[in-house]
């Protein structure tokens, strides 16, 4: 039996008129959308074995409900294939967890995007790019899964920048779409992929959501040791201020290879940065963090403790390394989280496929 869709509909002469109508109604992100016909939406739901009225998530602040039907409509609009729907559904579940703080990160002047990191066997099945130009264009799964999540935020939650709740001062291009897979072929030897680090079985697939600000890419072409590479990372972490709660470290394959050579474990990355990427309080204050530079959130820095070294990380676990990118080039990056991770946490959820 075909599931019953309950959304209102428009009747138009054809697809081109539909595309224009969705622009007119502010239902697009500024790019043309695929017109969501009932047939296409039904196929999207069927691929994930979801009934239209299943609730995938409830945004905690406003209580806005995201049903499978609304998610599927927006996924069709984004250009998703039906087989992408399980990833979209898991991502909706993840972004509506209270610790992600979806309302805060999408309406704030800080202007975060929602970055999706997909792990597990599904990344190969769906051909989610993790290699050359990982953050760039050219891959349907990357482009459309990330876009689906943004359209859901805009249309289902009403968080638009043109006539809605999105008040970002700058925003960044990741707010159109931002979805990658981890490059598990380039992981250093004996490193677990991100989903295993975050408690998912290696044979399962997952999506991890990050309230990502603009990435800072840097080249480190001379260092050939983990210490040298992480010292370069530290220079890009310092501008965030001390005691960063969570931050994504994007390690490119060429850099990752040096961790294999040195026999480093994944846990050593955060430990090294926590212990070595430190500055005395006076330097943090000189960098412009007089009230933000805090060893904990309740203690402002003062001149009385200006010799005390404070790490750029709140703890060794604050660093979340992932490996992505093409084989050539020594270009890595840091991705700060909204509120530097203090009020939005990275969330990982398993992807439930039809089988």
């Amino acid at each position: 039996m075909t599931p019953r869709l309950t959304s209102d509909y428009l009747e138009l002469p054809g697809p081109l008129e539909a595309i224009e109508a969705y622009f007119e109604k502010s239902w697009s992100d500024g790019l043309p959308v695929v017109p969501p016909t009932p047939k296409a939406v039904t196929a999207m739901l069927a691929a994930a074995n979801l009934a239209p009225d299943v609730i995938l998530g409830i945004e905690p602040v406003k209580g806005a409900v995201i049903t499978a039907e609304k998610a599927a409509i927006n996924a069709v609009m984004a250009g998703c294939k039906p087989e992408y729907m399980p990833v979209v559904a898991a991502a909706v579940e993840a972004i509506t967890k209270p610790e992600f703080n979806l309302h805060g990160i999408t309406v704030s002047t800080m202007g975060a995007a929602i970055m999706l990191i997909v792990n597990g066997p599904i990344t190969k099945q769906l051909e989610i790019n993790s290699g050359v130009s990982t953050f760039g264009p050219g891959y349907r799964a990357n482009a459309t899964i990330g876009r689906a999540i943004r359209l859901i935020v805009m249309n289902v939650l009403g968080t638009r920048s043109n006539d809605g709740l999105d008040k970002a001062t700058l925003g960044h291009p990741g707010k159109y779409t931002w979805c990658v897979a981890e490059n598990d072929q380039a992981l250093p030897e004996n490193w677990s992929p991100l989903h295993v680090t975050r408690g998912i079985d290696e044979s399962d697939s997952s999506v991890t959501v990050v309230s990502g600000l603009s990435a800072t890419q840097f080249g480190e072409h001379e260092a050939d040791t983990p210490e040298g590479i992480l010292d370069a990372f530290a220079q890009r972490l310092y501008p965030m201020g001390p005691s960063v709660k969570q931050v994504i470290l994007i390690i490119c394959p060429e850099h990752a290879a040096h961790f294999t050579t040195a026999g480093w474990k994944k846990e050593q990355v955060g430990q090294y940065l926590f212990e070595n990427a430190c500055k005395p309080t006076s330097e943090w204050i000189a960098m412009g963090f007089p009230s933000g530079a805090q060893k904990d959130s309740n203690a402002e820095l003062t001149v009385e403790n200006d010799d005390e070294p404070i790490s750029v990380l709140d703890s060794p676990e604050s660093a979340i390394p992932i490996v992505v990118g093409g084989d050539g080039g020594a270009w890595s990056a840091v991705i700060p989280l909204w509120s530097l991770g203090s009020r939005s946490k990275v969330v990982t959820r398993p992807i439930i496929t039809k089988e």
């Binding site: 428009l10 017109p35 969501p36 289902v156």
Partner: protein, 101 residues
């Protein structure tokens, strides 16, 4: 309700959801602030406190208010906790909120 395309029309679905926010409208206004306990609820942003203090100074100059009661909801990106608002409402007669970014 929604079915597939008919012969002469191209049918497409609405991607939006009705917004679920329900408001209670405006609170009843007091006739005067004289003798009132003034609540000042700040949102944890840097400038919320001086903004509220400046507003309170003007009010206190013009009216014989009873007192000021200041609290911080502690997180600008989330609603105040119900318990905190409950305690606050017991301590004040009127309240002023500020988002001082």
């Amino acid at each position: 309700m929604a079915t597939d395309t008919s012969e002469n029309t191209f049918r497409v679905l609405d991607p939006t959801s009705p917004q679920s926010i329900v408001t209670d409208g405006m609170a009843e206004r007091p006739e005067s602030l004289k003798g009132m306990r003034i609540g000042l609820l700040r949102n944890d942003k840097l400038n919320a406190e001086p903004l509220l203090d400046a507003i309170y100074d003007v009010i206190a100059e013009r009216f014989e208010v009873a007192s000021a009661y200041r609290i911080n909801k502690g997180d600008a990106s989330r609603p105040a906790e119900p318990d905190l608002l409950g305690d606050f409402s017991n301590e004040v007669d009127v309240a002023i909120l500020a988002n001082g970014d």
